[in-house]
């Protein structure tokens, strides 16, 4: 067993810190949060003597980091924002209907438009810029569960267990996230 000590951890910070930061930033989309989870990871690594060289340090650290990221995302899903009114606060969990997108008879009120695929490097970059903005505009709760599902590719049962929500809640939130994101992208990509 390798006893963790300060020097090893500092070396690991120098060698893996930037990678861990990028890993966290890609998922949390917030530099402060990303820095915080990297810090927590390094401290956890230091205090946890269980690294026995069975995997590479980076793999081991990334594993710890992933758990920290999930903790952050879980908090975001559970939290009811102060600014939200009582009926809006958790209605993502309760209300599956996207009334604003559909008419009474179930037809699209707002018809999905055709998007051109980004052509070439510049358009690709622009597209990702729009995507980034739209992800940031998404309500924290929806972004969090969307990240867990679509990026982490976590199984639904595991997400629901981690977040302490039902499978139906999860589907509803993912549906809302996709509808909102798609609309935002359509508005800002076509209308750019």
């Amino acid at each position: 067993m390798v006893a963790m000590h300060t020097q090893t951890t500092s070396d690991w910070l120098a060698e893996h810190g930037d990678y861990l930061y990028r890993f966290a930033l890609a998922r949390l989309r917030d530099s402060h949060q990303a820095e915080d989870v990297v810090q927590e990871t390094m401290l956890a690594a230091l205090q946890n003597n269980s690294f026995a060289g069975q995997s590479s340090p980076r793999t081991w650290l990334t594993g710890i980091l992933k758990h920290k990221i999930i903790d952050v995302l879980r908090k975001q899903v559970r939290e009811v924002s102060l600014g939200e009114s009582a009926d809006h606060g958790n209605d993502f969990l309760e209300r599956p209907d996207m009334d604003e997108f559909f008419m009474e008879d179930g037809h699209w009120a707002d018809k999905p438009q055709a998007w051109g695929k980004p052509d070439g490097e510049l358009e690709q970059k622009q597209f990702f810029g729009v995507l980034q903005n739209c992800m940031e505009k998404l309500p924290k709760k929806l972004a969090a569960i969307f990240t867990l599902r679509d990026i982490e590719e976590e199984e639904n049962e595991k997400i629901c267990k981690d977040l302490e929500i039902t499978t139906t809640n999860a589907w509803v939130m993912l549906y809302r996230a996709r509808m909102t994101l798609r609309k935002c992208l359509e508005l800002n990509w076509i209308g750019r």
Partner: protein, 83 residues
Amino acid sequence: MLTCKQASQLLSQSLERRLTRGERFRLRFHLLLCKLCKRFGQQIVGLRNAIRQQVKLTEQNKEIKLSKDAVKRITQAINLIHH
């Protein structure tokens, strides 16, 4: 007959779980007739792929680094544990 609203929900759920045979049948039929929902279905898959790609790009972008302040802070926190 599915409404577009129902079809959109099923399309989203199809990314989460295996649809039942009945659901798959009704959805396929709807999509044959409704180009809007077909488009929606393609777009949400495209979105998933784009976001995954974006995550990879961020992970691989060596220009993104911890700020010097962050490195300092974290190093101090590490040193604090042993003193």
